[in-house]
């Protein structure tokens, strides 16, 4: 076989593989949306699930997922940004820093089910939080923190050195320089990264099975007192999220329309994650244009 023929065959094979990957995604999204969207209606999005009868919705699950995401971000962002700032600005090039890097790397590659088990043991049982939104949010924090640290560290590192030096030369303290000069410049990157991480948190289920629980109490959406047990805002109530719900009805769903509910819920989940993706892309592009005056 001549070299030219081999070259042509290889090129065709590689292009075919690339097209195949695109086809997988199109097929996947098409399947989920076409099968699921037919089942999605306002009623489906707002009504409570049924265990045995048909016609259940995903209202509480959708609310739980969003609320849990907010709780998780409230805990993760301050911790992750702080640790990221340490890694880029305060850490010296020594063994201790290498060790922290190893810790972050190991933490980011822990299986999410192990994080969930740790949550079960420490948060649910040891600290007595029970199956609750708060325990779930802390477990997701452990799961999400390494990513936040990496995002922040890279964003802060990409701030031009001159800006930092100018601020320090004017006599500002290091911390003031970080918070009022470097963070604003790094903000677009941190924001984009956080939104992408939110998509990951929104779809996570394995870490929540044993922390936020697999059931949701009957919620009273007129009761907004966060200390009342059936208030949707109470962070210490068990909460089944959308992703956990999909898993549960697939493995032990008794309702006659379980497959349709799973399809509809999957479609909603995928649409929300896609929304996060597009928002991140849009915000990233918009701020980049604003800051760099490029078209």
């Amino acid at each position: 076989m001549s070299a030219k023929l081999a070259n042509r065959i290889a090129t065709v094979v590689i292009i075919a593989m690339a097209l195949f990957i695109v086809a997988i995604l199109v097929g996947l999204l098409g399947y989920i949306l076409i099968r699921g969207l037919g089942h999605v209606s306002f009623d489906f999005l707002t009504s409570v699930p049924q265990t045995i009868r048909a016609g259940g919705g995903i209202g509480p699950q959708l609310f739980n997922s969003l609320f849990l995401l907010v709780l998780t971000l409230l805990i993760t962002v301050p911790l992750g940004v702080g640790a990221g700032i340490y890694m880029s600005e305060y850490a010296k090039a020594n063994r201790f820093t290498d060790f922290i890097r190893l810790v972050v790397e190991v933490l980011s590659s822990f299986p999410s089910i192990v994080v969930g088990l740790f949550g079960l043991l420490v948060l649910v049982q040891f600290f007595g939080l029970g199956y609750s939104l708060f325990a779930g949010a802390l477990a997701l924090t452990v799961f999400n923190l390494p990513l936040m640290v990496r995002i922040t560290e890279q964003a802060i590192r990409s701030v031009p050195k001159e800006q930092k030096e100018a601020s320090l030369a004017l006599g500002l303290s290091r911390w003031k320089t970080i918070t009022s000069i470097m963070l604003p410049i790094a903000m677009p990157n941190i924001l984009t990264g956080t939104i992408l991480a939110s998509g990951r948190v929104f779809g996570e289920a394995a870490a929540l099975l044993f922390t936020a629980g697999m059931s949701s109490p009957r919620l009273d959406f007129t009761n907004w007192n966060p200390f009342s047990p059936n208030s949707p805002l109470n962070p210490f109530r068990p909460a089944e999220t959308l992703a956990v719900h999909i898993w549960k009805i697939n493995s032990e769903g008794l309702a006659p329309d379980a497959a349709e509910i799973a399809a509809g819920a999957s479609a909603v989940l995928v649409i929300v994650v896609l929304l996060f993706n597009f928002t991140a892309r849009f915000i990233g592009g918009y701020i980049h244009r604003k800051f760099t005056a490029s078209k």
Binding site: M17, A18, L28, L102, S109, L121, R174, A206
Partner: protein
């Protein structure tokens, strides 16, 4: 020359000027230091308590219940509720390793081709179309992969091959799509970091594009490509719900690719909620979690070793 320069600038003190920083300045510095330190300490405490708790609960099987470690790893019978319990975890260990390695064998060629497409063949179309596709694939939640696997791949396997469709092959196929983004992203980064001179040299000698890719590009980036594959295997190894939904969950060694079996993660997912803390069954599940955790360390170690060997 150097000496003269220093002589021309005598006694200019480039060290700290003798100005005392203001009180506000000092407070700000301390706030920053304390706050970032707190975050880092939180991270370190988290990981250490995680390792400690999983290890102490996971070792109870061997210490309290008196199960031999070797028998636990190589035994093929899993009857945790029998008296005395028979705990052989080999079916789960085999299930985890076989599905994740098969997934990598399927995903690696696809991912490498995608990376070559994006960097060498059509960079413009690659960045514009293939890159977003890969990012979207990475964003789809694992339960959705499980659901699609259950409603598309499993029926397809059931109709085409003998068996119920649930099993090793279904698990490996679902996992391969899930780890494709990891492998592709790392391969793309590695290929685009390759210095242009190497490729231009090959082209200048008259090599075709495929010869350049196959003889120059791939061998040079091999350790980096393997990093992606190992990270993919590590992700597949720890994935719980998607696999649990399509693997069938029988606690036996499978006799064929289409036979129902279990993985470490799937058995933990299914049984952890139904066991009492402190029972032999519960302890055994923690031991499986301990195996998962130890494998994570092994994967991180391999990745670090490969990264040290990366030439570019």
């Amino acid at each position: 020359m150097k000496e003269r320069v220093t002589l021309e600038h005598p006694k200019v003190n480039l060290e700290h000027p003798k100005v005392k920083p203001s009180k506000q300045h000092l407070t700000e510095e301390w706030v920053g230091k304390l706050y970032t330190w707190f975050c880092i300490i939180f991270l370190i405490i988290t990981i250490f308590s995680m390792v400690y708790f999983v290890a102490s609960r996971g070792s109870a099987t061997f210490i309290k219940n008196g199960i031999n470690v070797w028998e636990f790893i190589t035994g093929t019978t899993w009857q945790p509720d029998a008296k005395p319990p028979i705990l052989g975890a080999l079916p789960f260990i085999f299930g985890s390793f076989s599905t994740s390695i098969m997934a990598a064998l399927i995903a690696a060629p696809l991912g490498f081709c995608a990376a070559i497409f994006m960097t060498e063949i059509m960079p413009k179309y690659g960045r514009r179309y293939l890159q977003p596709v890969i990012e979207l694939l990475a964003g789809i939640p694992s339960v959705v992969y499980g659901f699609v696997g259950l409603s598309v791949i499993v029926p397809f396997l059931r109709d085409t091959f003998p068996g119920q469709g649930l099993g090793l092959a279904a698990g490996a196929l679902v996992l391969s799509i899930m780890i494709l983004p990891t492998i592709t992203t790392i391969a793309t980064d590695a290929l685009s970091a390759l210095p242009g001179g190497l490729k231009e040299g090959a082209y200048a000698l008259g090599a075709t594009r495929w010869q350049t890719i196959y003889r120059i590009v791939l061998p040079t980036t091999f350790p980096a490509l393997m990093t992606g594959v190992v990270l993919g295997i590590s992700r597949a190894f720890g994935e719980a719900l998607a696999v649990q939904m399509v693997i069938g969950n029988a606690p036996f060694l499978p006799r064929s690719l289409f036979d129902s079996t279990s993985t470490l993660t799937s058995v933990i997912t299914l049984s952890m909620g139904n066991t009492v803390a402190g029972s032999a069954h519960n302890n055994a599940l923690w031991s499986l979690a301990l195996i998962l955790m130890l494998m994570t360390f092994v994967f991180v170690f391999i990745v670090r070793w490969l990264e040290r060997r990366t030439k570019v």
